[in-house]
Subunit: 134 residues, 2 copies
Amino acid sequence: MNHLDHVAFAVLDLDQSIDFYEKNFGFKLEYREKLESQGVELAFLALSNTKIELLAALDEESVLNKFLKKRGPGLHHVCYRVDNINYELSRLRHSGFKLIDTEPRPGAHNTLIAFIHPESTGGVLTELCEYQAI
Amino acid sequence: MNHLDHVAFAVLDLDQSIDFYEKNFGFKLEYREKLESQGVELAFLALSNTKIELLAALDEESVLNKFLKKRGPGLHHVCYRVDNINYELSRLRHSGFKLIDTEPRPGAHNTLIAFIHPESTGGVLTELCEYQAI
């Protein structure tokens, strides 16, 4: 677990944010996807060594919308890449970590993902992801 | 500007946080330093592709302490590496960006750094850094 897969920003308008980062920072849009089940639309911007994920709420009921109302747009979470997400979740659970996802679930880009509760990680919402072979 | 130099977390206790990430996530402490003028003590943890910066306040008056009181510990800022920080600051200023540092100042690790105001970057406190030749 020593590779930062991405840092995620919560944004109000996905198109506008993609345009902002392309125009002002030169980041390239790599991928975008709607995750209806999560109530979010996301975009990945490629940097040379990692990715930025932009996250926008699809509707009022989205969990992300609650975050945006409480904290405003800005830094949302970090995601570390792991080789075996089931192993890591089991290890962390046994170490007393509070997990948001006790089992991995499908994420963007053919990944399995799980979130650790920020109460266990000094206030930093932390995601783990495992890339599955296609 | 397409390399994420680091992501920074505001923490309450630097030693405890270093220990936490070493023990549970396997990150390695690369470097630590007190920046008395900024009222912070910082530590860099090495990942394979980038770094995590842990930031703790040195005293009550530290700007970081105000952040911690308002938002609690957690995600603090992202930092992109640039080749020419003076050029980037000038470019951004001319594009209407609100800069916290209009001129670069010395950062940790023999760098020149400057912060962009989160009002200009969708709520994401954003740092630029240039590594100086030694």
